[in-house]
Amino acid sequence: MIRACAARARRADTRALGLYAALALLVLGFSLASPAFRSAENLSLVLRQVSVNGILAVGMTFAVLSAGIDLSVGSLLAVAGLVSALLAQREPGALGIALALGAPCAVGVLGGLVNGGIVAYTRVSPLIVTLGTLTAYRGFAVWFRVNPVYELQPWYRELGRLELGPLPLPALVFFGCAALASLVLSRTRFGRHVYAVGGNEAAARAAGIDVARVKLAVYAISGFCAGLAALVLTARLGAAQSVAGQGFELQAIAAVVVGGASLFGGRGRIRDSVAGALLIGVLFNGLVLLDVPSPVQQMLIGAIIVGAVWMDAALRGRDDR
């Protein structure tokens, strides 16, 4: 049993190790090439920037593991950000603070439950459902508040800047969220059921798993992460607007697939998605600092996403043969 276990660990880890090695090499390379990159302020900035996409990627990992996808997170983030910002304009009181922090997450869960309810109880595919809510939630955000919301209370804006030791608070929220999600996926019955539903839905149902409930929970979690990301982003920027978060869903998906998760479901890990988000974030930041023109950055990152997944597939293929 030990030998089989070790063999499995080795297989899973050659792929993950490649990812971590690429990330380390990238950080090392940028540090050597650019003194600005390795400055403490910049590294802190990278972490703060990554944390929003990272939190979204954590939620997206749940959706992807269940053989689904959540395209609505960027729009949901905008709605949750507006709600949070409006509450953060008020005078601080215990209730006001709790509302400003709790409401965006509640909005996220609500939006996620709508997604999950449709996915779980109709036969419409998650891609279509969340493509619809991507548009609908965005429309709701614009209808709700056309103009940006700013002049937020100082305590709220301070949250985006606070550093605890070497780490900015947003990064701590990101890592905490990832650690909790990782535990849920690896150590709870629910987590295993997410893998089961994504790996073989018919078998999960025949085994007696309540597939609909698992899906509902998966999208609620993804929505919660969108709300949390909205909080982090709004606090960091000190403002919220209805056009925030456009295209964020695609960046989160990119992080998840670079992390090696299968879009067909059943395979992927939180820590690999985190590494994927870090890789993409570091790449963006480093290329900016090296004065690589923005269009070239985009082409490079696009190629790297495809290349990473291709390498992953090649490694897996060799594994299976």
């Binding site: 049993m1 030998r3 089989a4 276990c5 499995r8 150590r187 709870t188 019955r189 629910f190 295993r192 059921h193 893998y195 089961a196 790996g199 073989n200 018919a202 078998a203 999960a204 149902r205 025949a206 085994a207 007696g208 798993i209 309540d210 059943g266 395979r267 594994d319 043969r321």
Partner: protein, 511 residues
């Protein structure tokens, strides 16, 4: 025709010389030498993992990285892709049908060989339909050529896969477990079809676990074990005992007759159960420790009954009583609460989560009766899984292996272990030995008998009559969704069962 021409006609279509194939350094085939002749049915037998399917797949061009040599019509050929194999006149009917679910039956059968009109090269749907219908009719099937494959039962899919193989009009046709999901009558039609192919001079390779088919059909039988050819001889040189011995490398213990179930109280009472299009007006009782068999041709309703009792496709009419108390089963959760477990027919589709380990597959729901905690207690789970794995005879070192890497027999044990972890009072088994090797089958049979002896009620649906006869206390024979006969296990024989299931005059006399 001169004698010489006859000799070449009857000569080898393909010769395999020191053929080998490894998967990541682990040999799956070693130095296999075989000749496959025109007009000969050549059966390959052996346990699961013996290398039969791998060998068939090499010939179909699906494993281009083989070692050794393949000669076709005397000339060395590198079978580097399925296209090369097809061009050389080799076709393979795979065990798991390789069909496009969203396409129709005739589109699948003509896939890659679509008839096209002279002008504009458009698809000729009419020709496709007629061609498919003719091939299916030859297999004794009236399947609609326009039906979508996704909606077909496993048996019908298997027929489509076979028709697809025939459509290629190959010189060498390989069948890998073609009869595993077919009913007795469909098997009979298939065998007739294979004999017709042989008469036309086609070379046929027939891989099967069903020795009765092998003896009925083969001109030559070759035995593979652990990737090597152990023996190859004309059928007349074999008998069942010598064949089994060659396959497993040891003599199998003779089957003991089981003790009859005592007169225990009924655990399950089914009254007037019905579901439109599946089964109607079903009445039966099942006692603790009793094994009740469900026999019938494919489509007779065996699977539907089990699935309704587990809440996957709930009954619409009638009532159930469990332990004397009325019970309603609308979803699998209800069934599990009543102590009912289910082992589905199709391991790949409805049984296994391929990416998870054997342990994770077994412990998917946790142990019944254990406190429902959200967090998994890993050491306890390992202990529970190890205990139940030992009960079904799953080797402990396989626990952490990804379940898709296990042999069919071990996969089936994983599913049995999953069901047993729920400590069921009633276990529903749908084709529990579907496409697994002889030794694993004997082992699973022994486990089923042990379960019953320990007081679990067993409802067993099977298309294999010997299996039902060996295990069951009573057998219900189904036809078109209704019970047409009930036979006591010790009074039934294959002829009576088959007659009842197919509705011949014999059945009416028996019932």
């Amino acid at each position: 025709m001169t004698a010489r021409e006859v000799a070449s006609e009857r000569g080898a279509i393909a010769e395999l010389v020191r053929l080998g194939k490894s998967f990541r350094g682990i040999p799956a085939l070693r130095d296999v030498d075989l000749a496959l002749r025109a007009g000969e049915v050549h059966a390959w037998v052996g346990e699961n993992g013996a290398g039969k399917s791998t060998l068939a797949r090499v010939l179909a061009g699906l494993h281009p990285d083989y070692s050794g040599e393949i000669r076709i019509a005397g000339r060395p050929v590198r079978l580097a892709s399925p296209a090369v194999a097809t061009a050389r006149g080799i076709a393979l009917v795979q065990q798991e049908p390789q069909l496009v679910p969203e396409l129709s039956v005739c589109e699948n059968i003509c896939l890659g060989r679509e008839p096209r009109s002279r002008v504009l090269r458009l698809l000729e749907r009419g020709v496709m339909r007629r061609r498919a219908a003719a091939l299916l009719a030859g297999l004794g099937s009236a399947l609609d050529p326009d039906a979508r494959v996704a909606g077909l039962a496993p048996g019908a899919r298997q027929l489509v896969e076979i028709a697809k193989g025939l459509a290629a009009e190959p010189r060498l046709l390989l069948f890998d477990e073609p009869s595993a999901s077919l009913s007795q009558r469909e098997v009979a039609d298939l065998l007739a079809r294979v004999r017709a192919l042989r008469a036309r001079g086609t070379g046929v390779v027939y891989v099967s676990h069903r020795l009765d088919e092998v003896f009925a059909l083969a001109d030559r039988i070759s035995v593979l074990r652990d990737g090597a050819l152990v023996a190859s001889a004309p059928r007349g040189d074999w008998d069942e005992a010598s064949l089994l011995h060659a396959m497993v490398g040891r003599a199998l213990a003779p089957r003991r007759d089981r003790a009859r179930a005592g007169p225990a109280a009924p655990l399950l009472r089914v009254s007037g159960l019905g579901r439109r299009g599946a089964f109607e007006d079903l009445h039966f009782e099942l006692r603790r420790g009793e094994i009740l068999g469900l026999a019938g041709l494919a489509g007779a309703g065996r699977s539907s009954i089990l699935r309704s009792l587990f809440g996957l496709a709930p009954a619409e009419r009638g009532s159930l009583a469990i332990d004397g108390a009325p019970a309603r089963i609308a979803r699998p959760g209800d069934a599990l609460r009543h102590g009912i477990s289910f082992v589905p027919e199709d391991r790949q589709r409805e049984g296994l989560i391929p990416e998870l380990s054997a342990r994770e597959n077994i412990a998917l729901l946790g142990r019944a009766g254990a406190p429902r905690r959200a967090w998994i207690d890993a050491p306890r789970e390992r202990a529970e899984v190890a205990a139940v794995a030992a009960r079904v005879g799953l080797p402990p070192e396989l626990g952490e292996r990804q379940v898709r890497r296990l042999s069919g027999g071990n996969q089936q044990k994983v599913l049995l272990a999953r069901a047993l972890l729920q400590q069921p009072r009633l276990i529903l088994l749908d084709e529990p030995t579907h496409a697994i090797d002889v030794a694993a089958k004997a082992e699973i049979h022994a486990r089923i008998l042990e379960l019953a002896a320990a007081g679990t009620a067993v409802l067993l649906a099977s298309s294999e009559l010997p299996e039902l006869l060996a295990l069951c206390d009573r057998i219900l024979v189904l036809r078109a969704g209704g019970v047409v006969a009930e036979l006591a296990g010790d009074r039934a024989d294959e002829r009576a069962l088959l007659a009842a299931a197919s509705g011949s005059a014999l059945a009416r006399a028996a019932s």
